[in-house]
Structures are given as structure tokens and as C-alpha cells.
């Protein structure tokens, strides 16, 4: 169980990204975080594996305080937390296999890995992961030769190599078209259901939220303003919607399976 307690993040320039955020995530949940750009979704996810150092507050994972971990402990925690990104964050000039193998860096011996040597078992694991995501035949291509959807699948394969207990997904489909978005989220859903990996995912599209989330958190200006189950999302009222996305936001398509559009400067 992941428990976030009174988490606050103030950046060096004084921006308050998170304001006293507390919530719990049970193992095996598919938690989706919604909110406007700049509402603190990315910061929240990055605080969990401390890519961003929280200012105050605690993050407890099965009783261990992540915020108090030293460097070695932190690396051991991080390797159990996979992460995928909106911009995929692959090393473009390296091939797909190398990119996937970097998921094992937390486990392998440093000296070996600096020479680009990985144990045979890891290479087999990498091919298994690529197989699972249907991109085995791309293994020796350069990462930037792949299409966006394929690149994100490489990103998932990389996260999978960590044999993670949690996957943090920071707007994983925001750079993809709707069809690819569904396929990527389906991959995450399969991992969530078959491997019981907890998924924390930030998303923009309400219809995707309704389809995949087991629970939803809404953030606005660094504060939690909405908390609901998958069923709650379908019944989301206009008032709740405006509470998350602001008073000027316009809801397009209504509730069930609807998509949402906003005013000119609030694209959702």
C-alpha cells in the first residue's frame, strides 16, 4: 500500500506545485489523476520516486518512508517503481533492445553495465517483454526510427524490465492518437490485472478515465479537489467538473463516454 501524507512541494522559484496532498493507494489499483496542465499531476508522480524532492510530507510504501530513504535505499525503491512518460524519454540514438535493457540497470553490476554487458537472463527477459508488447521485430532498430505508439511500448517494456510493483505513468498517451492511446492503456490494464501492478496514471481524456480507472483523483492548483470511483466518474456533475477544471471550462459531450473540450486556453 502506498500512502501519501501531507505532501507539499514548493519549487525554488516559489511556485507551490503541491499543497498538503494526502491519499492512499491500495495494491493493484488503477488510479488515474486528472487535472489541468500545471495542476501538479507530474510533480505528484515524480515525488513518489523522488525525481522531484518533496518539500514536506511523507510517502509511505508498505511502511517504508520513501522521503527518508538514503541514496542506496532510494535506488532500491526506484527499481521497483516503473515509470513511463508523455515524451517516452527513450535514448533516441540507442537501439530498442538497449533502451529496454536500461530497465535492468538498478539490478545489474555497475561495472558490467558500464561496458554495455548484461546477463543473458536479462536479455531473454528483454525479448520476452518486447514480445509481450508486440515489437520484438524492432529490437535492433534505433529508438527514434519507431512510431510514437511503438516508442511508448518500448517505454512500457523498459518499465516492465524493472519487475515493478508500481508503474507511474505521466500522461502516457498525450502524444498519441486516440486509437494508440487505447492500445497503450490496454497494455497497462493487462499489466494491472494480470501482474497486479499498481498503476498511477495522469490523463487528460475523461472518456479514457472512465474506461480504465479503478479510482480517480482530481487535482487543482496542487490540491486534491475530487476523489471518486470509476462509477463516480460516470456520474460526475457539472459542478464537480468545473471544480476540477475551472469555472470557464466547458463540458463537451456530457457524462457517459463523453469527451470534454474547454475554452480557448483550457484544452482538456
Amino acid at each position: 500500500m502506498l500512502e501519501i501524507k501531507n505532501l507539499t512541494k514548493v519549487y525554488a522559484d516559489g511556485t507551490v506545485a503541491l499543497r498538503d496532498v494526502s491519499f492512499k493507494v491500495e495494491d493493484g489499483e488503477f488510479l488515474i489523476i486528472i487535472g489541468l496542465s500545471g495542476s501538479g499531476k507530474s510533480t505528484l508522480l515524480r515525488c513518489i520516486n523522488r525525481l522531484v524532492e518533496p518539500t514536506t510530507g511523507q510517502i509511505l510504501w508498505d511502511g517504508q518512508d520513501i522521503t527518508a530513504a538514503d541514496q542506496t535505499e532510494l535506488r532500491h525503491i526506484r527499481r521497483k517503481i516503473g515509470m513511463i512518460f508523455q515524451q517516452f524519454n527513450l535514448v533516441n540514438r540507442s537501439n530498442v533492445l538497449t533502451n529496454v535493457l536500461t530497465g535492468r540497470l538498478g539490478y545489474v553490476k555497475q561495472r558490467q553495465s558500464l561496458l554495455h554487458r548484461f546477463p543473458q537472463a536479462d536479455r531473454e527477459l528483454a525479448f520476452k517483454a518486447l514480445d509481450r508488447l508486440g515489437i520484438r521485430d524492432q529490437a535492433y532498430k534505433r529508438a527514434d526510427e519507431l512510431s510514437g505508439g511503438q516508442q511508448q511500448r518500448v517505454g512500457i517494456a523498459r518499465a516492465l524490465m524493472q519487475e515493478p510493483h508500481i508503474i507511474l505513468a505521466d500522461e502516457p498517451v498525450a502524444s498519441l492518437d486516440p486509437v494508440l492511446a487505447h492500445s497503450i492503456l490496454e497494455h497497462l490494464e493487462v499489466l494491472n490485472q494480470e501482474e497486479e501492478i499498481t498503476v498511477l496514471c495522469s490523463l487528460h481524456y475523461i472518456d479514457l478515465v472512465q474506461r480504465y480507472a479503478s479510482r480517480v483523483i482530481g487535482l487543482r492548483d496542487g490540491e486534491i479537489v475530487y476523489h471518486g470511483s470509476r462509477e463516480d466518474i460516470r456520474r460526475m456533475t457539472d459542478a464537480e467538473f468545473k471544480n476540477i477544471y475551472g469555472q470557464e471550462a466547458v463540458r463537451v459531450g456530457g457524462g457517459l463516454e463523453g469527451s470534454v473540450g474547454g475554452s480557448d486556453d483550457k484544452t482538456i
Binding site: R79, N92, R93, S113
Partner: protein, 468 residues
């Protein structure tokens, strides 16, 4: 929702138009300053002061012997009427324009206008033309002087190839002055060249008290047994063994042999600067020389030397680049802010490295080579050290800026896998670094080869060594 566009209220002026104009009339730019057009006022004031200052400096340079402002300017005006007059007129126009401009600036609605700066630029351009001594007339009229040099650069092969030469010499003794028995010309030997001089004694040319040249004894030479139809040079060997090509009325004395290899020539015993101690009888020698080329073409000494030095230069540049790269790579990581901003300690290392690099880079390789030559002696090694030092500083900066410019996404992603810092650099930074590293390194080699030419000039070996 709708936001009306409201233009920002222009800053009002402290004074009215006429007051501003009057202020600018006394001190250019003051009116603009009072109109709160600060930058404009400072620019006008600075420009006016610089233009007048530079003009005064040029006027003094044109009339170095004059004293007094008026005398200097009238002399300078006489020497360069267009330049001095033009700039004075321009400065006057600028002054008037500045007054009018101040009047305009005092009124917020009439602000703007950049034409005055065009005039300022034009005045600076005129001053620059004179200060840098541009002379188009000379460039056109003396264009032919370029050809001999340029043709040597474009077509260096005449100096690059040569043939072996063989010199045939016949000599005859000459006694200075005529005292006792004059020496005989050597007896002719059949089949060998010989010359007969008449007379075999006499006086050299000399300078009298009025520094006028008094001709020495006329000399008639007859030669036989030389190669036919060939240029023969007449040389003189004086009593101390110095040999020189004889001149008569400014021209070298050369004669063409006839079809049977004989010649006759008249000359005058040449001028030699005689030390006062040179008294008594001296034995000189007159020589006839035929220089003929034998054998095939071969590369000349300068060509061989140049090729040797060129190879030295290329390797000098290469070694310096390789050493530069080897040292610059680790240093560049220390000088990359995005990698070093982790803690206070690393950040201070970053600032220290950057400062040291800036200092090293600001010192010319020419200076470094002097220091290195002091250390390891003149030669290519000193050049390598100098270029290496400079390459490390330059490449480290370029590399570290390339590191700072990389995509941070992969770094974040690799960190998130639980990788160590070294692993992160190996997998996220280095793959992104390869293209800029390669291109900067090749560019640096290019610079180093070019620079080693100059380095050689101050003792760093390579082709530049030959320019001394």
C-alpha cells in the same frame, strides 16, 4: 472574458519641447534625457562625444607639428579636406538634428524615429574609413604589384623543382697595383677552358674625397675552350678570397660564347671597399664561369623542407587534438551545469572549472607556446603542448555546452529505473553526446592544423617555422 487592449501610457516628459531643445543645444542628448528618453539621450551624448574625440585624434595625427586647436584643424583640413570637412559638417548636422530631436522627444506622441542613428552610424563609418587607412585609389593603381607574389602562391612549382648544376671555372691572376713583375695568365691547356687577361695588373675602382667613383684599369678578357653558345659570367675574387659577380655600369658582366666556345669581353677592374690597412701588393683573380644544369628535374630543397614541415604540422595538429579530446571529455562533465547542479559541492566544482577554462581560453596559443618552449625547448613538442592546452579549454566548453543542451527526458527515465549516476551518464548522456562530440572534435583538428602554422612562427615547429 473579453479583455480590452489598453496601450501602455507613454512616460511623460519632464520638460516642454523648447526647453528640451535648448538643453540639447548646450549638451547634446541632455534634452532627450530630460524628456525621459534615457537610452536615446545617452546614445546621442556618447556618440557625439566619441565622434568629436575621434575627429580630434585624427586631426592631431594629420598635423603632428601644429599646436593650438585652430592651427591643427586648419592643417588637417588642408591635408584631408573631404574627410575632416565632411565629418565636421556631419557633426554639425548631428548637433542641429539632436536639438530638433529633443524637441520632438518632449512630446510623447512624436517619439520614435531612428534616422538620427543612421546619421551617427554613417559618421562612425566615415571615421572608420580614415582610421583604418582604406585607400581604394591605391588598391586600384597598385594592383599590378600583386601579381608577382600572387603568381608565386598560385603557381609555386617553379621554386619547387630544380636540377643539379655544374660550374666550369677558368681563372687568371690580377695584381693590384702594378708593381714589380705582373703575373702571367696561366698557360692554355688544350681541351680545357682558359682565359687570358690583359693587362694582369692595375688599379681597382675607388671612391674619391667627393664620393665619386673613379674607374679602375680597363681589362680585356679573352676566353677559349668553353662550351659554345652559352652564357658566361665574369666573377672577381679579391685578395681575401671573396668572390662576387662583376658589375659594370650597374649591369652584371655576362658574355655569350661563340660557336667554338670563345669569347672576348671588356670590363673595368671593380670597386672594392678596402680597409685602410690594405697596403702593398695584393693578388686578385678574375674568373669566367659557365653554369650548366645537368640531370633530370628533382624536388628543390625548399620543397622537401616544406613537405617535411607540412607533415610535421598535420601530426602536430592531430596529436594536440587527440590530447585535447582525451582531457576535455572528463573536464567537460565537470563544466556542465545540468550534471553538476546536484549539490553545493558539485556546483562549486562547476564554477571553479568554468573559471579556470575561461582563463586558459583567454590566453592565446601564441603565449602558451612561448611558455611551453621555455619548458621543453623550441620545436613541435612545444607547439603540441600549447595547442593541447588551448584545445582542452575550448573543447571542454563546447562539449559541456553540448551536454547542457541534451534532452533531459532520458536522464530522468534512466534515473527512475534505479540506475547509479555513472550508469545514467553512460546510458542517457553519452549516446546523446556522440554527434556533437565528433563534430566539435573534427572542427578542432581543423583549427589546430591551421593554428599550428602560426604556432611555428614563434618556435612551435611545423610549417610556420619556415616563415621566420
Amino acid at each position: 472574458m473579453t479583455k480590452l487592449y489598453k496601450p501602455e501610457q507613454p512616460r511623460s516628459s519632464l520638460v516642454t519641447g523648447p526647453v528640451a531643445a535648448f538643453a540639447s543645444c548646450i549638451i547634446p542628448g541632455l534634452g532627450q534625457l530630460l524628456a525621459l528618453q534615457i537610452w536615446r539621450g545617452l546614445l546621442v551624448l556618447g556618440s557625439m562625444a566619441s565622434i568629436l574625440g575621434l575627429l580630434a585624434w585624427r586631426a592631431v595625427a594629420l598635423a603632428p607639428r601644429e599646436t593650438g586647436l585652430l592651427a591643427i584643424f586648419s592643417k588637417a583640413l588642408a591635408r584631408r579636406p573631404f574627410f575632416i570637412g565632411g565629418v565636421l559638417l556631419g557633426a554639425l548636422i548631428l548637433w542641429l538634428w539632436n536639438v530638433w530631436d529633443a524637441y520632438q522627444q518632449a512630446e510623447p506622441q512624436r517619439r520614435g524615429g531612428v534616422a538620427i542613428f543612421a546619421l551617427i552610424l554613417f559618421l562612425f563609418f566615415t571615421l572608420g574609413w580614415q582610421i583604418s587607412e582604406i585607400n581604394l585609389y591605391k588598391a586600384v593603381t597598385e594592383l599590378p604589384d600583386v601579381w608577382p607574389l600572387l603568381s608565386k602562391v598560385l603557381w609555386p612549382w617553379e621554386a619547387a623543382v630544380t636540377r643539379d648544376t655544374e660550374t666550369v671555372i677558368a681563372t687568371a691572376p690580377i695584381q693590384i697595383p702594378c708593381e714589380g713583375s705582373a703575373p702571367e695568365s696561366p698557360a692554355p691547356i688544350a681541351g680545357q677552358p682558359y682565359i687570358i687577361a690583359a693587362p694582369t695588373c692595375g688599379e681597382l675602382s675607388y671612391m674619391d674625397e667627393n664620393n665619386d667613383l673613379v674607374m679602375g684599369t680597363p681589362l680585356h678578357l679573352e676566353g677559349e675552350g668553353f662550351a659554345p653558345n652559352m652564357k658566361t659570367q665574369i666573377y672577381w675574387k679579391d685578395s681575401v678570397g671573396q668572390e662576387f659577380h662583376v658589375r659594370y655600369q650597374g649591369e652584371y658582366v655576362d658574355v655569350q660564347t661563340d660557336s667554338v666556345g670563345e669569347f672576348e669581353v671588356d670590363l673595368v677592374m671593380p670597386y672594392r671597399l678596402q680597409p685602410p690597412s690594405a697596403k702593398g701588393v695584393q693578388l686578385h683573380e678574375v674568373q669566367a664561369r659557365q653554369v650548366s644544369e645537368v640531370g633530370g628535374l628533382k624536388p628543390s630543397e625548399p620543397l622537401l623542407l616544406s613537405v617535411e614541415r607540412m607533415i610535421e604540422t598535420i601530426f602536430l595538429g592531430m596529436m594536440a587534438t587527440v590530447f585535447g579530446i582525451v582531457f576535455a571529455i572528463p573536464v567537460s562533465f565537470l563544466a556542465a551545469k545540468n550534471l553538476m547542479s546536484g549539490s553545493k559541492l558539485t556546483l562549486s566544482v562547476y564554477y571553479l572549472t568554468r573559471t579556470i577554462l575561461n582563463i586558459i581560453r583567454s590566453i592565446e596559443p601564441l603565449i602558451w607556446v612561448i611558455i611551453a618552449a621555455q619548458w621543453v625547448g623550441l620545436g613541435p613538442f612545444a607547439g603540441i603542448i600549447a595547442l593541447t592546452v588551448h584545445s582542452i579549454a575550448a573543447l571542454s566548453k563546447l562539449y559541456s555546452e553540448a551536454i547542457e543542451g541534451i534532452n533531459t527526458g532520458p536522464i530522468e527515465a534512466i534515473e527512475a529505473t534505479g540506475a547509479t549516476r555513472l550508469q545514467m551518464i553512460m546510458y542517457a548522456v553519452i549516446p546523446q553526446m556522440i554527434p556533437p562530440f565528433v563534430s566539435f572534435s573534427i572542427y578542432r583538428w581543423d583549427i589546430n592544423v591551421r593554428m599550428s602554422t602560426i604556432i611555428g612562427l614563434v618556435g612551435g615547429g611545423g610549417i610556420g617555422f619556415l616563415l621566420i
